[in-house]
Amino acid sequence: MSMVIITINGKEFSAKTGEMVVDVARKNGIYIPTLCNMEGVIPQGSCRICTCLIDGRTMAACTTPVSHRMNVETNNAELEKIRTTIVELLFAEGNHYCPTCERSGNCDLQALAYRFNVLVSQFKQIFPTRNVDAKNPKILIDHNRCIQCKRCIRRMGGSGKPAWFSFKDRGHKVKVNIDHELTADFTDEMAQKAMDTCPVGAILKKEKGFDVPIGRRKYDTEPIGTEIEKEGAKL
């Protein structure tokens, strides 16, 4: 495997060819916000939150492989504006009622909104009519909160494995479909894994919620990305 040298925010790092920019940055303690991306899951670059300035062009850091002498800028006013706008659009597009959602404090979308200081969306709320699919005995999908990131589809099924989750319909009607027959004997572990895969409160493990008290939830004490940045400070 050959190595390349890339520059991120003015500093040089070595990386393996084929690695994605977002992963190289993370390993070196530089936080690039992500939402549809998940470590260990094939990236798809759909949410664009990770947009960076790569060799002068705005590109998704999760689907851009490194190349020798690549120059990456992870943050500036324009990029921040792009990211903020994406978060605002996502909030306007779904029905995200944080105060009553059990993922509050542990939700990537909410945490990004806090990190970018999004207090109100500049876009009009769409208030779509969506439902809750709770037919599975172990998990439920609350379509009101789904941001169509496909993390569940990519991580919980995929090549060779049965498609537990899939997309149904297209355009603005697209929604995640759960195959009730294939998932009928979901174990508690699978249910937990599905819930942990979802970056928001769309997939929930049944009959358990709000069990982590306020103050001890994932993002109660530190903004999203702090963990990575702390590692960076140590390097």
């Binding site: 009553t100 059990e102 809750v132 037919k135 049944k206 009959e207 358990k208 709000f210 069990d211 008290p213």
Partner: protein, 483 residues
């Protein structure tokens, strides 16, 4: 360009009070009605939601008493997850919940008495409105105002330590609670620097009671006669008849002290209660089935609880209870303004309960939750600051809420408040053809005795949004006043 904005019931949660008073040909009060724009939409909102979300969702009903809704919903869900009711929880689960509840009663009653009721007492019902408010109290009775602020803060800190947040926390979950009390928290509440410790709070409760009793001795007419009327009373009591604000059986007594609801199991409330709908009010009128619509209405709240309970299981409050009972020779007390007295006795009881709980090691360790065989339906009832609060849920095969029924205390007190308004109107408006500020406040004082949640939105300023209309014998509007 100015524009009039009409706030429809759908945009408000328990919002605006409206009173219409109809005079006869001799300008005597013929009829009065209190209309409360109450929003029952939450029963629809929760349909389809996963059941374990209910305690966090329904507390949004109110910004003043969210803890009560949070706990009542959690109690109903205890039944659904098979944890049983009340003592079915683990010691930690039940005691943390109780601590939260007493913190809520404490802070809510303090807010009510000092911020809302005391201005009327200190400055008179028709006193100068410029002074007759919480600011006036702060200016002229500084020590009272400081106590009020600190006591309320203490209660709120208790809520925060148990629910996670002062308002809209998440502590109570089906089958228990999600946290223990830490040693630091326990120490803070028991031994905090003056005045933030439980002994000081108990001291101040006595101070408030002394203040009330002194005032009562000087103003017997107002306290004993204003809007007084006999009625039935309903509340939870412990199985042995003791006052219990968190859990128990439903008891009702009539004006003579006869039991009209004999310590029944909360799960069977529908066998005993029904609600009447009237065309002129958004709010329903609950009544006891056994007595029928006409006679079955009842009061809930602090006064009702003094009338239903046989004793108070904490020594200091029990002493005050005995004084209270002796005033009516042990008979049920229908004096509306004695609600305030009862409320102060409950503040003391809550403080004593908090002290007992804070010293209990179960709060700091032990299993948080429990569950058993799942049920499809559950009822959770508790004594909220303003009275008995009913939450009832049914779930479907997919764990989604299929039906919710809530009876809030303000609804139970609908008829009594109407009665109080009528009495105040007769006392202050007979023979009058225009509304004065004093009359308006008299009507408010009658309503305020119940601390109804219609004042939720503007509670803190001591103002309730109220509109009064005076109609002549032909139904023609002759005067109108609002604030």
């Amino acid at each position: 360009m100015s524009r009039k904005i009409t706030i429809e019931p759908v945009t408000r949660v328990e919002g605006h009070g409206k009173v219409t008073i109809q005079l006869d040909d001799n300008n005597q009060v013929a009829q009065s009605r209190l209309h409360i724009v109450e929003f029952r939409g939450f029963e629809r909102f929760v349909q389809g939601r996963p059941y374990w979300e209910a305690p966090v969702l329904v507390q949004r009903l109110c910004g003043i008493c969210p803890v009560s809704h949070h706990l009542a919903a959690a109690k109903a869900l205890d039944v659904i997850v098979g944890a049983g009711t009340g003592h079915g929880l683990t010691p930690t689960g039940e005691k943390m919940r109780r601590l939260m509840h007493y913190g809520q009663i404490f802070q809510s009653h303090v807010l009510h008495f000092f911020h809302l009721a005391s201005p009327d007492l200190l400055f008179g019902i028709d006193g100068d409105p410029a002074l007759r408010n919480v600011i006036g109290v702060a200016l002229q009775h500084k020590e009272l105002a400081v106590q009020a602020v600190m006591m309320r803060k203490y209660g709120q800190e208790i809520i925060k330590a148990t629910a996670g947040k002062k308002v809209h926390g998440t502590g109570a979950i089906p089958g228990g609670i999600n946290k223990h009390l830490t040693a630091a928290e326990k120490d803070f509440f028991l031994n905090g620097a003056d005045p933030m410790n439980i002994d000081k709070m108990i001291d101040w409760c006595h101070g408030a009671l002394d203040f009330f009793k002194g005032y009562h001795a000087q103003n017997k007419d107002l306290i004993d006669k204003f809007a007084a009327h006999p009625s039935n009373h309903v509340s939870l009591v412990r199985k042995d008849g003791a006052m219990d604000l968190y859990h128990g059986v439903l008891r009702g007594v009539d004006a003579n002290g006869n039991k009209i609801l004999n310590d029944v199991d909360c799960q069977t409330y529908l066998d005993h209660f029904d609600e009447e709908v009237k065309s002129w009010s958004y709010m329903k009128f609950p009544y006891l089935k056994s007595l029928g619509k006409e006679k079955g209405w009842y009061r809930v709240g602090p006064l009702a609880r003094m009338n239903t309970a046989d004793f108070i299981p904490t020594p200091l409050a029990q002493k005050e209870f005995e004084i209270f009972k002796a005033y009516t020779n042990g008979k049920p007390n229908g004096m509306t303004m004695h609600q305030h007295w009862a409320r102060l006795i409950e503040i003391l009881h809550s403080a004593e309960m908090m002290k007992e709980l804070l010293n209990d090691p179960d709060l700091m360790s032990g299993e948080l939750t429990t569950k058993g065989t799942k049920q499809k339906e559950g009822v959770g009832i508790l004594e909220a600051p303003r009275g008995t609060l009913f939450h009832h849920y049914r779930i479907d095969d997919n764990d989604q809420i299929e039906m919710a029924n809530l009876i809030v205390s303000t609804t139970s007190n609908n008829k009594p408040m109407n009665k109080g308004v009528n009495l105040a109107a007769k006392q202050f408006m007979n023979g009058q053809t225009e509304i004065t500020e004093g009359m308006m406040n008299a009507v408010e004082v009658a309503i305020r005795a119940y601390d109804p949640c219609l004042s939720c939105a503007t509670h803190a300023l001591g103002k309730m949004p109220l509109e009064i209309k005076l109609l002549d014998a032909n139904g023609k509007l002759i005067d109108k006043m609002d604030k």
